[in-house]
Each structure stands twice: as structure tokens, then as C-alpha cells.
Symmetry: C2
Subunit: 441 residues, 2 copies
């Protein structure tokens, strides 16, 4: 690899080579049966070269030196055709990394059988617990990734590791009621996926959903579960922390560092070293050391996050938030493992105190939120009515509002944290918000 960096010196002032090798095995469920088992592996190399501030970017699906050499030449041709990017400063310089987390090699050569077995167990268990229930869908998967990132300034960092995930979707049919699709999931850095817990929690939600309660227009306390939180915040809030948006003027958080933007029960940070994190990487997609970046501390907005390109333009440098998109080859500002700090009491305790309110499991339509201003309009479904401290049944309703108004109404976070492996990877408790205006449906 070092000699490929030297070879690239003929064409470029600066050069980066990023190699990713991955192996993914998975198995899926459809209508109570295993529908597919798959096993895939591959390599992708991304070349990023800069000559006189002109960028060349080439992507190939190979890690062979001969093909990488061709890709370097391809990137060089492209750089010649482009105009200089006068904003370009430079690729990252080497820095100290934290100590690597030991990978779990058990995940490197997993067979799809291991996942098929877990899914079959989940299906059997679920249908024993509730014969009116259909396992509409589900998937178990294990991903393993090895990466090496080098650049002409001397960065050379290799990492490897893997994670496993598992989810099931149930639909219950009883007395003419068909419940919405009810999900639960688990994700961790070993194969001990909590099949029993996933089934237990999802079956409980299906049981609640057999009773349908009409929703109405009202202002009530609402507890959001991990799936709902990840959906809403991934689209309405998290993009606002991007330094690129600060520079482009598309975040409502410009000039608000140090200001209160949420209630003091909320502390949110990005931390790949959190014990529950499923990808504990020490270097981001550009080889910059990752770190814990606090975004909101007790309700106060602390800071933006940066990749190398925008961080150098801004003058503060990267915060280790350069995420490589192996599809396009590009680097974008992103998060590794967003954590919402947990609280002291259980979800049960928090639910137990609510006279009338809702527990929202999932939101539909969160992707059309506007992170430029925080506005959103979502359908809460599945959602559950709470009366006198107990869940009474399932409801559907709309919430339209602004994420910054809602964040100020957060009143409690629960003790249990869940890993959400979808959308932005999150580790989050349930969060209770007061005075949420809902529109019945």
C-alpha cells in the first residue's frame, strides 16, 4: 500500500487510499417462515487525490494493487478535468489514536445457520405465546468489516470488527382487529442476541394493540421509545449539528453555542467507545481519531461536529466525524454512536405516574422533517394510550411541531438504554415529554 501512495505521488500533491473489506451474513423471515439466507463479502477501495486543489475521486470494488493503481490513474484524469476547489486546505495529518477495542472474532466467520436458528426460535416462541400472531417479517444479520486508511501525510490505520443485529415484526389478528406491524430488535458485538427479550417485548405490544382506543385532540405527556426517538431525531435534529450546515447557513443552531436548546434532563453525545456501541472505531473514514463529542449537555448546546474538509475550512479541524460512504466514495459529516444519557427510574415507574398520555413506539413520516428549522409532522404508530398509569390500548395520532419546542418539554429519561442499529445508530432510554399537542385520527 505504501508504494501505491508513492506511485500516486507522480499525479497528486496529496493522496488518500481507503480500503474496506466486508462480510455480511443474514437470514430473513416472511410470514412465519425463513424466506432467505444470504452470505456476501466484498472489497471496495476509494482513491481521493488532490492536485493543485483539483479533486479526483475513484471507487473500485477490489483491493488488488493492480486495480488500485488503475483507480489512481482514473482519479488523476478526473482531477485534471475539474476546476480547483479554492476552499481546499489539506487531507488530515497523523494524530494519536486511543487503544483499539478487541474485536470479537467469533463474528468473523459466522454461518447464516446461526441466524436461521435464532429466527426459527423467535418465531416458535412468539407463536407459542400468542397463537393469533403472525411473524410478518424479521431479519438477523452479522456484519464484519476490515478497513485500512492511508494518506500521503503518513496516516496509516487498520481496524476490524463486527456486530450482530436481530429484529422481528409481528402482526396480531383477533376479533376483527388487525394490529399495525409491531417491531422489536437487539444489536450487540456478540452473537448472544436477546431473542427471548425481543419476543417478550413485541408480544406485550401486540397484546396492548388488540384493544384499539380512539385518539382525540389534546395536550398530554408522551413517552417516546427508542425507535420513535431515533426516527424523529435522525431527521429533525441531528443534521443541525453538522459543521457543513453551519458554514452553509442551513442550521438553526448557528450562534447558539452555550444556549439552552433542550430541557436539562437531556444530555446527548456521540461516543463510539460507549460500552453498548456496536462499532467502537478509533479512527473515522479519513483516519482522524474519533472522540466523545458532547452535543447537548443538560440542555445546553455545546458544539458542532466536523469532518476534515469542512473542519479545516472552519479552522477548527475535524472532530473525527468524517463518515465514508462506500457507495459514492464521498466523506460526509455523520455520527458513530449517538447516546442519550440515561436516568434513574424504570419505564414502568414513569408510565405508572401518567394519568392520561401516550407511549409512542414508532413514527411514520419522520424522514420528511426539515432540519433547517426543526419542523416536523409525523404519525405516531404504533402508539399506546396510557390511563391511570397503565397502557389501555393502541391509538394512532399526528404530532406536528418543532423539535426545539419539544426538546424543552423533556421531563425524564428512563434507566434502561436500548441500542438502535437503524437510521443513526443510537443508544437511548425512553424519554418523556410534557404538554405534547396531538391531533387525533
Amino acid at each position: 500500500m505504501e508504494n501505491l501512495i508513492r506511485f500516486g505521488g507522480k499525479f497528486f500533491d496529496e493522496l488518500e487510499i481507503a480500503v474496506y473489506r466486508s462480510r455480511d451474513v443474514s437470514a430473513s423471515v416472511e410470514l412465519n417462515e425463513i424466506s432467505m439466507a444470504s452470505s456476501r463479502s466484498g472489497a471496495v477501495t476509494v482513491i481521493r487525490g488532490i492536485k493543485d486543489k483539483r479533486l479526483g475521486l475513484a471507487v473500485i470494488d477490489s483491493d488488488e494493487p493492480e486495480r488500485i493503481r488503475e483507480a489512481i490513474e482514473q482519479a488523476a484524469k478526473m482531477a485534471k478535468l475539474n476546476s480547483p476547489d479554492e476552499n481546499w486546505v489539506s487531507l488530515p495529518e497523523p494524530e494519536e489514536y486511543r487503544r483499539k477495542v478487541k474485536p470479537n472474532y467469533e463474528l468473523k466467520d459466522v454461518s447464516p445457520d446461526a441466524l436461521v436458528e435464532k429466527l426459527v426460535r423467535g418465531i416458535k416462541l412468539a407463536r407459542e405465546k400468542d397463537e393469533n400472531l403472525i411473524v410478518a417479517g424479521g431479519e438477523g444479520g452479522v456484519g464484519w468489516e476490515e478497513s485500512r486508511i492511508l494518506n500521503s501525510h503518513g496516516i496509516d490505520i487498520s481496524q476490524e470488527g463486527g456486530a450482530a443485529f436481530f429484529f422481528l415484526e409481528f402482526v396480531g389478528r383477533k376479533k376483527g382487529i388487525v394490529t399495525p406491524g409491531i417491531f422489536d430488535f437487539d444489536a450487540r458485538r456478540n452473537l448472544n442476541l436477546d431473542v427471548e427479550g425481543v419476543v417478550e417485548r413485541a408480544v406485550q405490544k401486540v397484546r396492548w394493540a388488540y384493544n384499539v382506543e380512539k385518539s382525540r385532540n389534546e395536550e398530554v405527556p408522551v413517552i417516546l421509545g427508542p425507535w420513535a426517538i431515533a426516527g424523529l431525531l435522525s431527521y429533525a435534529l441531528f443534521p443541525a449539528f453538522s459543521g457543513e450546515r453551519l458554514i452553509k447557513g442551513t442550521t438553526p443552531l448557528a450562534d447558539r453555542t452555550g444556549e439552552r436548546i433542550a430541557s436539562e434532563v437531556l444530555t446527548i453525545y456521540d461516543d463510539p467507545f460507549h460500552p453498548l456501541a456496536i462499532e467502537p472505531i478509533i479512527a473515522d473514514g479519513e483516519g482522524v481519531p474519533t472522540r466523545k463529542n458532547v452535543l447537548i449537555e443538560k440542555g445546553i448546546f455545546k458544539s458542532f461536529v466536523w469532518d476534515n474538509y469542512w473542519g479545516r475550512i472552519h479552522g477548527t479541524g475535524s472532530t473525527g466525524n468524517g463518515k465514508r460512504d462506500t457507495g459514492s466514495g464521498g466523506v460526509n459529516i455523520g455520527f458513530h454512536s449517538m447516546v442519550i444519557e440515561k436516568g434513574n427510574r424504570t419505564l414502568e415507574d414513569v408510565v405508572g405516574e401518567i394519568k392520561r398520555g401516550y407511549l409512542v413506539d414508532g413514527f411514520q413520516g419522520a424522514h420528511s422533517s426539515n432540519p433547517d428549522n426543526g419542523n416536523f409532522a409525523v404519525t405516531a404508530n404504533p402508539a399506546f394510550l396510557i390511563e391511570d398509569g397503565e397502557v389501555k390500548g393502541a391509538s394512532v395520532f399526528l404530532i406536528a411541531g418543532n423539535i426545539y419546542d419539544i426538546l424543552k418539554e423533556a421531563s425524564e429519561v428512563t434507566r434502561e438504554q436500548t441500542v438502535m442499529p437503524f437510521m443513526t445508530t443510537m443508544i437511548t432510554p425512553h424519554v418523556k415529554f410534557e404538554n405534547v399537542r396531538i391531533a387525533g385520527k
Copy 2:
């Protein structure tokens, strides 16, 4: 391959092996510069085996016999764990194919350079024509696919071929006006992509969009362009032609064969052999011969389309519409090349007769249409106001309604057909609809 079919006979009553090899090269544009050149290739093999009506499905990213053998064993293990599918009839039997269309081997080994060159030419041309214009995005790509589908009933069909596509997205900024993103595109079975035509058409639309006209609530004639038609019909109408939906009771077309569901100017058929089709395949994803399937003839609903599974359950057999999803390995009912029959007059003539109406280039939100009943609610953007036979400027408005009401209002199709390579691949003229109720925005 034949001996792998024999090997599978140890485990299965019926077995299908589908092998896909692909090579994709592409180059992308962002903000007037080439942002990426990529070259990817790979192989995927899907094993589908049935034992005592129990299904096993395995997907691997390899075409090596040893790995295929393992995948057959994997599928066999899975079939054992599944329950019998009592609806299962059988895999397809061999049938006569049409003569293959000769592939264009020029597309097999294209370098990304060829696409970079076209994009650079497009960017240069566009900015010469309009200095206030930004080439916000764009892509040029060439895909080449080789497939072989075998099954234990004697089907063994190999196919190969490729296609090229090209699109650009422009944004104009002039006198405080920022236009919406304006797209144009081309797709064909050779490298002679119409760069000049794409630029010419898109620049014209940007020119129109510099003048913003307020929309209002009214009932007017509306002409839909290819992008708008493909968006709306792909989500609101085409799924209703699926035989699976007929059996599941989720199409409004059940029991309506032979009835008028559209105005007589509309004839719609799926035809991979159309001269403009970009994938002229003779066999579908299950090795069943493809054919021209007429869906709507002069406004009359003619027939549903089927893959092997649902077609055999229904008793009519497959219509050659089994599309393989190489991601999940599954086969779904889909379309190869949807054609809307063209008319006699040019778009210019049709526009020239409109006293007040709109020309809609694209719709937003079409994906949330409901094919169960045909209801949709979309935002027309980009859309252009026509007054006294001339385009006056750009407008944004909403159309909410039912696709079957709209189809009855079709009054003319233009002479020019365009290939739409996105969503459902379509070959379509512009279509004029009368009395469309729009909501101003």
C-alpha cells in the same frame, strides 16, 4: 452448472439456480465538477429449492461452483426448518423463447472516462448557454449484465446485454430567484447518449423557471411529462396490474377486465422488445419467456400480469413478469418496459392550444400513493404555467385525487416518446389530461 442441478437433486424435488454477473461503471457530478468515477463488478447466485413444498432460498455473491454447492446445502437446511407452503405448485417448465436481440458489446468494457467526458461536455455546454446556471448534480452510467437461469425441469437460458444512461440536474439563480432542481435524461442501448438534447431541454426549463407564477385553485388541462408520468403511475397505478394483488384482494381492478378504466387515447403495455427498450430480455428472472402484455387498450383494462408462483396458483401461469431481486433473492411481479402508445401531434402543438393550464415535469410525494384504491396526493414541481399556448413561468401546486378519475380525463398523447430509466422503466409520450383540479400553493 448442470451437475450442480444434479447435486441439488439429493436435497430437493425441484431446484433453480440463477447466476447474475454485472459490471457497472459510472461518473457523477456535484456543483459543476466531476465528483466521482466508479467501476464495479460482481456476481450473485440465487438458489431456490423446494422439498415437500418447503422452500429454501440462499443468496451468495459468487459464481464459483464450490460456493454454489455450499449455497445449495444452505438452502436445503433452511427448507427443512420451514413449514410446507400448501399453495406451491411447481417451478416453470421450458417453453420456446423469441430470438435474442444482439447485445451491443461496445458497452461491455466501457471505461468511466467515456462517461466523465460526456458529463464534462454537458457541464460546459450548459454553462455556456446560461451563466446563471449551476449543474447541481448528474450521473452517467453504463450497466452490463450476464445471467444464466437453470432449473431441474430443463430450463437453461443465458442472456447478456447492457444499457447506458445519463442525467443532469440544473439550478438557475437570477434576480433573487432560485429555481427548483430541473432534470433531464437519456437512456439507450449504445453510448451515443444525447448530451446536447439533455442540456437543451433542461436549459429551456430553467429559462421558464426564472419567471415564477403563483398558482391558484382551479380546474385546468394539465400535460404530464415522462418523469411525472413514471412517478405517478409507478406508485398509484402499475401495482394494481399485479396478479398477486388480485389473489390477495388488494387491487381495485378485480373483476374489471374488459371494462373502461381510462380514456380511449390511452394504450399501455409492457414490452421488452419495443425498439427503445433498454433491456430487451427474452426470459424473465425465472426463465419464463417474456412477451408483450397489454394492460390497457384504448382505455379498456385487458389483463393482469403474473410471475410463476402466483400465476400457477391462479391457474393461468406466468406472463413472464417474474422479476428477480438480486438483493433478497426473491422473485416479485414486475414490469420490463412499460410503454404508453404515442399519438400524432407534437408537444408543441398540444401546448399551443391550451388557453390556461400546466405542463408538469415532476411530482414529489408520488411514492405515498395508495395502489389499493388509486388515491394519491402529490406536489407538482417543477411545473410550468401555460397561457395562450405559451409557457409563462414556473409554479408549484398540489394535485390530490384518484388515478382512475384522472385516467378517464386523458385527451391526447404526443408524438415523441421518451425512455425513463428510473422507477418503473417506461417509454412514454407527454399525456394531456382535461379538468384536473389543482390546489394552488
